[in-house]
């Protein structure tokens, strides 16, 4: 039987002590697919991602990850403060045992593509702005060319220009390398712009209450499309409910 690259989550539940965080989550993510999870904050999105990536032990239900490689971009940059940007970007390559010269070349290529300058690559994280740190973290996840990418609100701390720029790079990556992405955001427009499928995770306990598919190819989604689609989603009762909850919380 041929090995199918996919992430399959079945009946996944999780609790921290007495806090019921996730209940009975089911979904699949195939190769080249981008699935985003939207929902109120504190709803268990990060926990779901950590369970899928094996960073947290699964207690109830099943997660089977049949992708060969994955990378995780966290909500905060999590750079090593004692390494310069170049080494931070190259971290995953080093962990795979790649030699110094080659990993530095790849890291500086991608760093420059992500809008860092040569000088920035030699700087320690403390010398970088928040946006640049985020780019470094993003480059570190992408440079290893993972088959599956876990993104935990990677753009939430960025200004609009940079956000759009990194989104564009991501769309390109998906198109060229057939990277699969499981993507968390609380920005509905971002979800509409980037994903094939949007899963709505309601809080307390976190469960998937609705899935929306978007069939228009990513490259053809202009602003008008994104606005229109988002507006349409916002009329949906489940979304109204869940997002109003998050506003009041």
């Amino acid at each position: 039987m041929a090995r199918v690259a996919e992430l399959r989550v079945e009946g996944l539940s999780h609790r921290f002590g007495r806090n019921d965080v996730l209940r009975d989550i089911d979904f699949q993510l195939g190769q080249g697919e981008v699935v985003s999870v939207v929902g109120p904050s504190g709803g268990g999105k990060t926990t779901l991602l950590r369970l899928c990536a094996g960073l947290l032990d699964v207690e109830e239900g099943r997660v089977s990850n049949r992708f060969d490689s994955f990378a995780f971009a966290f909500q905060d940059p999590r750079l090593l403060p004692w390494e310069i940007s170049l080494d931070n970007i190259a971290y995953g390559l080093k962990a795979r045992g790649m030699g110094r010269r080659q990993r530095h070349r790849l890291a500086s290529d991608i760093g420059l593509r992500f809008g860092l300058e040569l000088g920035d690559l030699k700087k320690f994280p403390k010398e970088l702005s928040g946006g640049m740190r985020q780019r470094v973290a993003f480059a570190r996840a992408l440079v290893i060319e993972p088959q599956l990418l876990f993104l935990d609100e990677p753009f939430s701390a960025l200004d609009v220009g940079l956000k759009r720029e990194l989104q564009r790079l991501l769309v390109k990556q998906v198109a060229e390398q057939r990277t699969s992405i499981l993507f968390i955001t609380h920005d509905l427009m971002e979800a509409v712009r980037l994903s094939d499928r949007i899963l709505l995770l309601a809080g307390d306990p976190g469960r998937i209450v609705q899935g929306f598919g978007i069939d228009t190819p990513r490259e053809q989604r202009d602003d008008a499309f994104v606005y229109g689609e988002t507006a349409q989603l916002l009329t949906h009762p489940q979304i109204v409910q869940s997002f109003e909850l998050s506003v009041n919380a």
């Binding site: 960073l55 966290f74 403060p81 390494e83 080093k94 962990a95 403390k126 290893i144």
Partner: protein
């Protein structure tokens, strides 16, 4: 190797920043001179006279040997304490039980006055090198131990999770995560331990040996030779300052560039 070159290259600029320190030392010397003019030779000899005495001492065979003996004891004690303290602290930091259990022991060690160690060491080891080195080691050990322990226990869970997400192999966990982090706690502890060693070594020598600067200090006391005593103190403090500011501080600057 790169770090070494970089330290050398930064050295002239580093020395240049030392003028402020020189100014404050000169101010101190001026106050000293003032005290001398007020209270006279017996209580506080003139700085110039003291410095001349230092010069004489350094050119005399006997005191030079004493100085070397003292430095050797202090450095041995320091090195042994750094070795044992760092390893034990790291090991204790890796296990929750060990770090919890070691806390009261460290408190006891920290609270124990060095003079008590000297007395015990004299009973156990008699008069000589071993007594001095032992006292230096036990008195500075807790400082290094606590530094290493804190270093291992404070590594952020977030960074560990990041490392885990990239499937970092164990050796790389050490070289890229644990060591740099721990070192930033360990190094300041080493510097404190160095200062401690310098103080303890003289005290231990004064009480328990017949050679070394401490013993020379004891002789100066019996002869009421205030100038001699002060000259010895100047040599001790001077040697510590030289090591600290010409060796340790530049290293610290180089390895801790990444710090806020």
């Amino acid at each position: 190797m790169n770090a070494f070159l970089s330290i050398l290259r930064g050295f002239p600029r580093y020395l240049w920043t030392g003028w402020g320190a020189v100014a404050s030392i000169l101010l101190f010397v001026a106050l000293w001179e003032l005290g001398h003019q007020r209270y006279g030779d017996l209580v506080l000899p003139a700085p110039l006279e003291t410095l001349q005495r230092v010069g004489q001492m350094l050119s005399s065979q006997g005191i030079r040997e004493d100085l070397l003996i003292t430095l050797k004891r202090a450095i041995w004690g320091f090195l042994i304490c750094v070795g044992i303290g760092s390893v034990l602290g790291l090991a204790a930091g890796l296990f929750v039980t060990a770090s919890v259990m070691s806390r009261p022991i460290v408190s006891v060690l920290m609270g124990m006055p060095p003079i008590a160690w000297i007395v015990l060491a004299m009973i156990w080891f008699g008069m000589g090198d071993l007594t001095v080195v032992f006292t230096v080691v036990v008195a500075s050990l807790p400082i290094v131990f606590v530094g290493a322990l804190q270093g291992t226990r404070t590594l952020e869970g977030h960074l560990k999770e990041m490392a885990q997400s990239f499937r970092t192999p164990l050796p790389m966990m050490f070289t890229d995560l644990y060591l740099p982090h721990v070192f930033s706690y360990l190094f300041p502890a080493w510097i404190s331990a160095l200062g401690m060693s310098w103080k303890i070594v003289v005290m231990a020598e004064l009480l328990s040996t017949s050679d070394g600067l401490g013993a020379a200090l004891a002789v100066a006391r019996t002869q009421l030779d205030t100038t001699g005593a002060l000259a010895l103190v100047v040599m001790l403090v001077g040697s510590l300052l030289l090591i600290e500011y010409l060796l340790m501080e530049p290293i610290k600057r180089e390895v801790e560039q990444w710090r806020e």
